[in-house]
């Protein structure tokens, strides 16, 4: 979905479901290159001017045993001539590269949907591996769908024969043949893919040519073979969009760009300390290539060292940033407490995944909200903000940098596996429209006979940022409770009470510099508010749109600032008759809302590793209003 880029007509906004959208799922073995195929199809879709949302869904194993159901990797894309907010409830088209891919994905397909299968892979052995007793392409078990099948493997081998590749290498071109077919189906330009292949295989031109030939062969096959009714060419018109320059962006890319922008707006160099973990690693990969922006990236020996080094860098005057997923964030918590205690700026990015423990490394969830808001020893509040989409991650990253530096505090930025990997069209922002928030280091030595006051307070209750290297301001900080002002060790009851109160008040004070909570759609004081945060934005938004079209009195409230909340959130929520909070966890934000505002918030929970479908939220709205 494209955040704030579309000017929707009422008709478009309420179409149920939008007529001009198609959901395609590519599914194959994890070694079949489905993510690559999906990624390139996404690019061609964006270039064709469609709005889109994607959902890459892959196993945790890099190369699970071939042909098995647990080794199936899928990439779903929803695209259309109207605003797209989710990756789609049900695919209209499933491209299944082997029996296991069919087995795992067929049930998701809408009734009457189209299955395109590579019959060349439906051997007795592969059927057995997928758990089929008979060939589903022949036994009529797929009757509720339209099925076309041809031997993609053989067609690919024929297409790349002139290049004399080995069988294994030749079959690797299968995904490009399939992509060619998909490009024909949706009337797409092949040239950008050809250019990409040439660049990708610049060092092995024969592989580039083989892949291009496979792509062209797949395209030609669609054009020449007469398969009959279900298999025809569709043209999806461009989606309405505000005029301007667009690109596609994944959440990880947008986050990286937002953090760079945030540091540039703050006028401070970035130190990014990280330890590889799924699905957070892409952020490290993106930032590692951007040294010209004054960025140092550090792959630490572990999660703890990553955050500690980031805090060390913040202490020395850079903006320390660390990033991980749930299990890694758990390891960072003690150090985050130190950053709270020493009041140093820090941004902690959590790309949430299914938990607890190792949980579901490649699947999405929103179950680290308690961890973010409450998850440290002692009374240790931090601001928490959550991104709702890939493009929104850009804005949230800037906001996290602003809050961290202005209030001298760690900030937790929540995103999730879905946002990190999903792509959407993004209107390239005009950076001149962003107000800088330059940091100021304190460098005025105390008068003769007076001590350094590293824990003096400004109007925001923030303490001065004093870099080591500044003459005359030598001082010591640490994790032990301290005397207000001087920061000297002080365990006294009065000191601990005052410092605890001050740290809490400072974080609550962040609410003074964030916008009031608005209602996305629907009216204030409606019968029902559907309150969401994070990546549930898309399905909630579409579901509420549809409910409004049906005449239901519903509103969508989407909260970016989880902690502290916008000042008006309580009164706003109290104005609704009922509140439903859909979350990909067991009801964590619901608990926060109940605790903070004594409102009767009800949960809609889902922890399957997949995002909400629009229909699930529509049904919850119906239930709440019945």
């Amino acid at each position: 979905m494209a955040t704030a880029t579309h000017l929707l007509t009422d008709k478009e906004a309420t179409a149920h479901p939008p007529q001009e959208a198609v959901v395609v799922r590519f599914a194959g073995d994890s070694g079949d290159g489905m993510q690559l195929t999906g990624g390139q199809f996404t690019l061609s879709t964006a270039l064709a001017g469609n709005d889109l949302a994607t959902f890459p869904d892959f196993p945790a194993e890099i190369r699970a045993p071939q042909g098995t159901t647990f080794g199936v990797s899928a990439f779903q894309i929803n695209f259309g001539s109207t605003a797209i907010e989710t990756a789609g409830d049900q695919p209209d088209v499933l491209i299944a590269m082997n029996p296991a891919a069919l087995k795992v994905n067929a049930d998701a397909l809408r009734e009457g949907g189209l299955i395109i299968a590579d019959e060349g892979e439906f051997s007795a052995r592969n059927l057995a591996k997928a758990g089929y007793e008979q060939n589903p392409l022949e036994d009529g078990s797929l009757a509720k769908w339209q099925v076309v099948h041809f031997n993609i493997s053989q067609l690919t081998l024929d297409a790349v024969k002139p290049f004399g590749l080995g069988n294994k290498e030749a079959l690797r071109c299968k995904n490009m043949w399939t992509l060619g077919l998909a490009l024909w189906m949706f009337d797409r330009d092949r040239q950008p893919i050809v250019d990409w292949l040439k660049a990708k295989f610049a060092k092995a031109p024969e592989l580039a040519e083989a892949n291009i030939d496979a792509l062209n062969a797949g395209h030609a096959y669609g054009e020449t073979v007469e398969m009959g009714a279900p298999f025809k060419q569709h043209h999806i018109a461009a989606a309405p969009a505000e005029p301007g320059l667009y690109r596609t962006v994944t959440g990880a890319e947008a986050l990286a760009l937002g953090l760079v922008a945030g540091c540039q707006l703050a006028g401070v160099n970035m130190f990014f300390g990280s330890y590889p973990i799924t699905p957070a690693s892409p952020l490290l990969h993106h930032l590692a290539r951007l040294k010209e922006f004054g960025i140092t990236t550090f792959q630490a020996e572990d999660e703890i060292a990553a955050i500690c080094a980031a805090i060390g860098a913040s202490y020395a005057g850079q903006l320390g940033i660390t990033s991980s997923s749930g299990p890694g964030i758990a390891l960072k918590m003690e150090a985050m407490g130190l950053a709270i205690m020493t009041e140093l700026p820090l941004v902690v990015v959590n790309s949430q995944r299914g938990g607890p423990s190792t949980g579901l490394p490649t699947k999405t969830e929103q179950s680290d909200l308690y961890q973010a808001v409450y998850g440290r020893n002692g009374d240790s509040p931090v601001p928490v903000i959550a991104a709702r989409s890939p493009a929104d991650a850009f804005e949230c990253a800037i906001e996290a940098c602003r809050i961290a530096t202005r209030y001298m505090t760690p900030v937790m930025l929540l995103t999730d596996g879905y946002i990190a990997n999903a792509a959407e069209p993004w209107k390239v922002p005009d950076m001149s429209g962003y107000a800088p928030f330059p940091v100021g280091y304190f460098d005025i030595p105390p008068a003769q006979g007076e001590g350094v006051m590293p824990f003096a307070r400004n109007d925001d209750l923030a303490r001065p940022w004093i870099k080591p290297g500044t003459p005359g301001l030598e001082h010591r900080i640490g994790g032990i409770e301290k005397q207000p002002g001087t920061g000297n060790i002080d365990y006294s009851p009065a000191a601990h009470q005052e410092m605890t109160d001050t740290r809490a008040a400072k974080v609550l004070g962040v609410a003074g510099s964030i916008p009031d909570q608005d209602v996305c759609i629907g009216r204030e004081g409606a019968e029902l508010a559907v309150v969401g945060w994070g990546s549930t934005f898309g399905p909630i938004h579409q579901a509420v749109r549809r409910a409004l079209a049906k005449g239901q009195d519903v509103a969508h409230v989407h909260v970016r600032h989880i902690w502290p909340a916008p000042k008006n959130l309580g009164p706003l929520l109290k104005g609704f008759k009922r509140i439903t909070v859909p979350e990909m966890n067991m009801g964590q934000y619901k608990t926060v809302l109940r605790d903070q505002y004594l409102v009767d918030a009800q949960s809609l929970t889902k922890v399957s590793g997949h995002p909400f479908r629009i229909a699930e939220i529509e049904a919850a709205i119906d239930r709440a209003l019945s």
Binding site: S81, E242, P243, I295, R476, I489
Partner: protein, 338 residues
């Protein structure tokens, strides 16, 4: 490029903070603190450019007592904080103060990595073979059989040898000192002069929980016979020169010979093999002290800075261009209006 400002002459007193020192009376930490404060004026460094970073434990209170910048962090993680500090500002002179539990138990991983990366810093490991701050439990350097509140029948696990751990981790500077010994400032100066991670194990007496645990070589009566102070380029002699160390070529180990024996070897700090033998000498031998191994290599922060600069060279940090990177397309006007 950098402004060179004259470093003001300081005295030991200038390096003492106004905070009351709160170690047990008679603790070896006092002696180390004094030695460091006495050494700093000789190093030609500015207080504002000096940062002491510690973890948790008795020794880790150290930064509060130095009139420089200081950061008392969390248990075992001082090397990681130091890495961030040094990468953010390589001009800072970074000292890590740690103990046997902090550096080798909870923080063993970070100790290993700061050494192998060769971050330019001084690591002073106060080894008292016991947990002091938590009231006397045995530590990873405690000898087998150490009775403590957590091991009332004696510890059964074998201790780690700190300098061997350092050498094995790829340290390029490994030295030993004793808290109250007059040579400690010289060891500190050598550690500071070394560019890279300088690992210094300081035998430190805990008067309350592990008193006299090092008396077998630190007591006045035994010192001469049991301490071998190494000096680069000089013969390895001890017991007032009456004895020396030679290489037992057949056994590939060290042996004790008479001081005037021509086979007494000369200390070459670059020899890693001999360094390992010196560290691992059995109880019947003297304890090797001073700079055991020194073989400089490029530092981590220099390599990072160099690569950052090379990767950035010729590129303009243009944020607008960055956000517009990749394959883009222009929407001229609303397609709906067509």
């Amino acid at each position: 490029m950098n402004e060179i400002s004259p470093i003001p002459t300081t005295t030991a007193k200038d390096w003492a903070s106004d905070q009351e020192v709160r170690w047990c009376p008679g603790c070896g930490d006092y002696a180390v603190l004094k030695a460091v404060q006495r050494t700093m004026p000789d190093l030609g460094v500015a207080r504002e450019k000096t940062v002491f970073i510690s973890g948790i434990g008795c020794s880790s209170r150290f930064p509060y007592y130095m009139a420089s910048y200081g950061f008392h962090t969390i248990h075992g993680r001082a090397p990681a904080f130091a890495t961030g500090v040094k990468l953010a500002n390589p001009e800072l002179d970074v000292w890590i103060i740690t103990g046997d539990g902090d550096a080798l138990s909870i923080g063993g991983n970070h100790t290993m990595h700061v050494l192998r990366r060769n971050l330019d810093c001084q690591i002073l490991l106060f080894n008292n073979e016991i947990y002091g701050l938590t009231k006397g439990q045995y530590s990873p350097t405690s000898r087998v059989g150490t009775r403590s509140p957590s091991t009332p029948f004696g510890s059964v696990d074998r201790p780690v040898t700190p300098c061997m751990f350092a050498l094995g981790s790829g340290a390029r500077f490994v030295a030993r000192g004793i808290d109250v010994h007059k040579n400690l400032p010289d060891v500190l100066k050598a550690a500071h002069a070394h560019k890279g991670a300088s690992f210094v194990e300081i035998y430190q007496n805990c008067v309350v929980y592990n008193d006299d645990v090092f008396a077998s070589f630190t007591s006045r009566e035994l010192a001469a016979d049991k301490q071998l102070w190494l000096k680069p380029g000089e013969k390895m002699l001890f017991a007032g020169g009456a004895k020396g160390l030679a290489l037992d070529v057949e056994g590939l180990c060290l042996k004790v010979v008479d001081g005037d024996d021509p086979s007494v070897i000369v200390h070459d700090p670059k020899n890693r093999g001999i360094a390992a033998m010196l560290i691992l000498m059995p109880e019947s031998f003297p304890v090797a002290l001073g700079v055991i191994y020194e073989n400089p290599a490029p530092t981590f922060e220099a390599a990072v800075m160099e690569q950052n600069a090379a990767a950035a060279s010729g590129k303009t940090p243009d944020l607008q261009a960055l956000v517009a990177k990749g394959q883009t397309w222009q929407v001229e006007k609303e397609p709906r209006e067509l």
